[in-house]
Symmetry: D2
Subunit: 382 residues, 4 copies
Amino acid sequence: MKRKMKMGMIGGGPGAFIGAVHRMAAVLDGQIELVCGAFSQTPEKSKAMTESLYLDSNRVYNNFQEMIEREKFLPIGERMDFVSIVTPNHMHFLPAKLALENGFSVICDKPVTLNSQEAEELAALASRKNLTFALTHNYTGYPMVKEARSLIRNGALGKIRKIVVEYPQGWLAGPLEKTGQKQAGWRTNPKEAGISCCMGDIGSHAENLCEYITGLKISALCADLTTFIDGRLLDDDGNVLVRFDNGAKGVLYASQVSVGEENSLMIRIYGEKGGLEWRQLEPNTLLFKKAEGHTQIIRTGVGPLSAEAQMHTRLPPGHPEGYLEAFANLYRNFAAVLQAKEMGVATDERMDFPTIQDGVRGMKFIEAVVKSSQSEQKWVSL
Amino acid sequence: MKRKMKMGMIGGGPGAFIGAVHRMAAVLDGQIELVCGAFSQTPEKSKAMTESLYLDSNRVYNNFQEMIEREKFLPIGERMDFVSIVTPNHMHFLPAKLALENGFSVICDKPVTLNSQEAEELAALASRKNLTFALTHNYTGYPMVKEARSLIRNGALGKIRKIVVEYPQGWLAGPLEKTGQKQAGWRTNPKEAGISCCMGDIGSHAENLCEYITGLKISALCADLTTFIDGRLLDDDGNVLVRFDNGAKGVLYASQVSVGEENSLMIRIYGEKGGLEWRQLEPNTLLFKKAEGHTQIIRTGVGPLSAEAQMHTRLPPGHPEGYLEAFANLYRNFAAVLQAKEMGVATDERMDFPTIQDGVRGMKFIEAVVKSSQSEQKWVSL
Amino acid sequence: MKRKMKMGMIGGGPGAFIGAVHRMAAVLDGQIELVCGAFSQTPEKSKAMTESLYLDSNRVYNNFQEMIEREKFLPIGERMDFVSIVTPNHMHFLPAKLALENGFSVICDKPVTLNSQEAEELAALASRKNLTFALTHNYTGYPMVKEARSLIRNGALGKIRKIVVEYPQGWLAGPLEKTGQKQAGWRTNPKEAGISCCMGDIGSHAENLCEYITGLKISALCADLTTFIDGRLLDDDGNVLVRFDNGAKGVLYASQVSVGEENSLMIRIYGEKGGLEWRQLEPNTLLFKKAEGHTQIIRTGVGPLSAEAQMHTRLPPGHPEGYLEAFANLYRNFAAVLQAKEMGVATDERMDFPTIQDGVRGMKFIEAVVKSSQSEQKWVSL
Amino acid sequence: MKRKMKMGMIGGGPGAFIGAVHRMAAVLDGQIELVCGAFSQTPEKSKAMTESLYLDSNRVYNNFQEMIEREKFLPIGERMDFVSIVTPNHMHFLPAKLALENGFSVICDKPVTLNSQEAEELAALASRKNLTFALTHNYTGYPMVKEARSLIRNGALGKIRKIVVEYPQGWLAGPLEKTGQKQAGWRTNPKEAGISCCMGDIGSHAENLCEYITGLKISALCADLTTFIDGRLLDDDGNVLVRFDNGAKGVLYASQVSVGEENSLMIRIYGEKGGLEWRQLEPNTLLFKKAEGHTQIIRTGVGPLSAEAQMHTRLPPGHPEGYLEAFANLYRNFAAVLQAKEMGVATDERMDFPTIQDGVRGMKFIEAVVKSSQSEQKWVSL
């Protein structure tokens, strides 16, 4: 009989942002419960989460090593089934590796590691252990992203020619990291964030989104990264020309200094027969542009939609679904795979989620972008 | 020590729509867990929910009477703390009354009863028992609705002069109830829905929203209800002139035959100094129009916002919050009151939610609208 | 051989607003030239326009009586072919009557007169003299308004059930008329504006637009007019329930105290099979909502469009056409009728424009609205 | 005394598109009249325009050489004051040169010539002859473009960091030139269009717009041009990384294969303190994004605006102004300079328009883009 999956969280302690997002997303559909956590490497900070999360204090651990070591001796059904890693970038690899080595599946925030070698090591390990590794490129969880992908797969656009994907934000337009703001602090710190700030944090979302929707791969790119804030050690803006493996061309850009922008992720895709436009800030609308005839407004839950879109929609038309619902789609699908494995049944492949392979791809993208930006050569292969 | 509140659900069995919404909204913030239910008056349908909700089969009851009778003998901490009533309208009063009589607080879908007498009886009972009664006029849970209310309270608009509130839908533009569609069936059936379909189901949301945001009360109205579909027994469209207790004037309309509309709830409010516009389909945007100067786009989580808006926002700027999050705000605030009562502490009054008093008001509004529509007299008082 | 039509203008002197609009609209398509004018009843103000309009000083007259008396003795081809009346409301009837009596066709601003009797007198006179009388309900000149009308005529919506038409403005939210502002002054003065300010000035546009697009007639109405500004003598806001001659219901409202609104004329029309939505502030977009399938964005010049829309579009797709172009469509069509009459040929009836019959209708609407607002009776016939 | 300026047109014969635009734009404000033309190099096609334009048949010439030769002997006040050149690109240089040599000022469509040498020759000639040369980069004529420029000049954004300007169209997504469509034919023909189709025709608008608004100059670029349609001889799409002379970075792209796009010219500019966003398809709206506080919606004619915006706005708030009005602003300002020269007075420098210097700049941009696209070197200076 199917049972709720039990989650142990690594990271997400006091003052964190994304930890709470993961917790809400995990429980939304009633398939997962949080049973334990190592919310910080500082034991007292980890313990501080016990009451507010209504956890058994014995299962709020001092650090992730302790959690993994102790949980693995609990019986199945009681022990955690997987770990959710919500720490800054530099703290993804070690806990993920340890979890996998001890038989726990992993769902991890992105970018997955500090470099592509680490990502490939995790990929190999997950494969060897036959464990599931999900990566929370959450934007792929939106129903209208699923619809866009389905339309393209079914040929509605014909051959893809042009892709413009952008992710401007404005929150790092000033030296926020100097104020002690935690999110800004680690993202602009090479030791915690890796070789890129803007491109690593959000450019990689743009890369993942355009490759997911179109099924194409970026084959070459030409990047111009910039650090606009004096004293900042990593890029806070980047513009990239991209070429895809089918001959399509495009532009990918990300920015953290675009004052007044929120998370204005937008993608526009043009093929021989039609075009698509989707914006994360109004995620329930997908514009379908036609070579002949009028542009259609495709809306979550409304009218004829693909099975993929419907499987990722919880509500009837007219009830806006947001960021958490898209995020929860990843958790639900991830849980479904764990449940199916336990029961020895198959899952519907349309209930997909980004995996460690997307993580490897993302790290290679980040590395190529940084390399290109430092080069006088026009094109860098990916 | 604060503990999670335990919920028993009445209604929400196989094929229901709003039950799942309540379940997701209840658990989103980790303050509530579903422990039992009477999901249908048909015992086997109720039982059918056991596995998918991962419930103890002993606590999936044959009917709400059994649930209330049995749960009340369980110890506090184990037994349900409140009931969530998600049945059609005609099945609100009896379970709510029985729950209150047996000491259980209630959160109930709207409209609260079949008529204002029943609503007043519940109000009196809840008051007498010192129990909490929440009503899920969920649209008031949106952060930008809170912001609108706060702006008006703080005088940003000056004296209110004009209010236009509308809720067009298109889903009943054909005789959907004749196809066996469950939602259409009970809403158009006077025995289950009461004296009104369109005005009861969604016109009452419009009434609640405009009175909540402005703090004004509709004092008189002039209504023109219509049934456009042959053979339908209740209204599927209604236009209402409204007058408010401060001298403001306005228009309220609702429709279920406005083809192509989803849940296009919109409110526009104009005062001496400014205007506000909010649309449920893009709920994270509030337009603030100025007598002098440029219109401002106020966005969930962005820039200077009221404490009320911030207290009902989970995510940083740029992460769209939707219908479920607004709905969850009601549940979280309701749970906070129950928790605070148990701990003997006060709650923040800004963490509000609609109550049985809103239910009484809503029933009187529905009755006045139906009376006015049948009258040749221009104005009916409310 | 076809020749340019020659225009004499009445009104539009220094400080006027709509006079310049008429002059630009008249010449845009190269079919009309301004040859003379009586721009003010104050001779020196009229004369003051000579240079800036590059006119022959002999043909800038002291008043409209002089202009009509003198021009009629000039030979055809030299004399003015028609008068354009752009004065405040109370100065429409006399010049229009005198022009018609002396054989000149008329294009006149709206509302056409101070009451329906005057309008009917002009209608009878124009008919008796076989002269052309155009009324500048300019919003009907937009290509997407033509498209909406064509779609409805061709049955795309099925039987019309519901119409919501609104025209909110904010410019009279304060006592602007007390500052000496000329436009506010005459519009709020019963002697110059007639029995209504808001409903006469812009409510009548809403009435004209909804009847033009749908081909339906308002058969009964219930109005609530308000004067929000102390000391103002006419309404500055009005809400109206409307019933149409085919059984459709609706709401019509207009306001001049809706702070922050520009000329936010909007119409939504719902039939059995579809809905339409058009906004004057984005006039090149028409939304076509479907009972089945996705909403279409119909755009000026783009894709398959009716002949009516195409005949009123000057530019290829992507070149926004605005207020002046819509206004110019009326002038161009009016000129085409005059040219065709002279040449003894027929005109294309799709190149239409509002006539004195629309003026009669508008005056009856204004009278019915004012009567209804003063009545305790629910419905007033129209 | 100021007099109307007299225009002679070169090009704009039967089947042309932009000629009619120029004619409408020229006459809108009543400062210019069309007195003669050489509408085609095919004499009978030129003559065919006589009646529809109500011209004196003696002044409809067989070709531009004849027009210039004959008109120069007419007395001032009767003869044309300037020529308007509306032919395909390859027919700009010769008529412009001949007109200038014979003492006529010129207003010319863009791109101004086939290469930068020709453009510089015209610039030198106009300067030597002290004649006025306007180039119709019409998008700079919009009021909200003027407002954007004024805001930046006044420091509202602080130092500019990032610019994204794009001009996608979809009309050449198929081999339209093979159908005999005239506009597609010459634009894709190197002999008539020059070295670029997409970048020359619309990319140059994007370049002109971003440099005009910001006052910055593109100092280096990296381009990737593509021809997506088999057999087409020139680019139909191009993506460009751009660097500006103040250190700002950006993206410029243009496309004629972006199916479903009209003239979707959009610009976003971000500085240290704020951001601006403007879209040609909704030209009366300018978004002003703030580092602190809410985004403002700046609208044509509404609230506090710069003198520059007001001087280029004809109508009160709420009356949409479109493409023709923006285009007419160029003609009006050009005419004002000619009038002022004749009267020996100064003109207001805020009534500006693009000149032959913009033409030289545009040609250098086009040449740099084409060079870059063919190069393996990353950056090409401009």
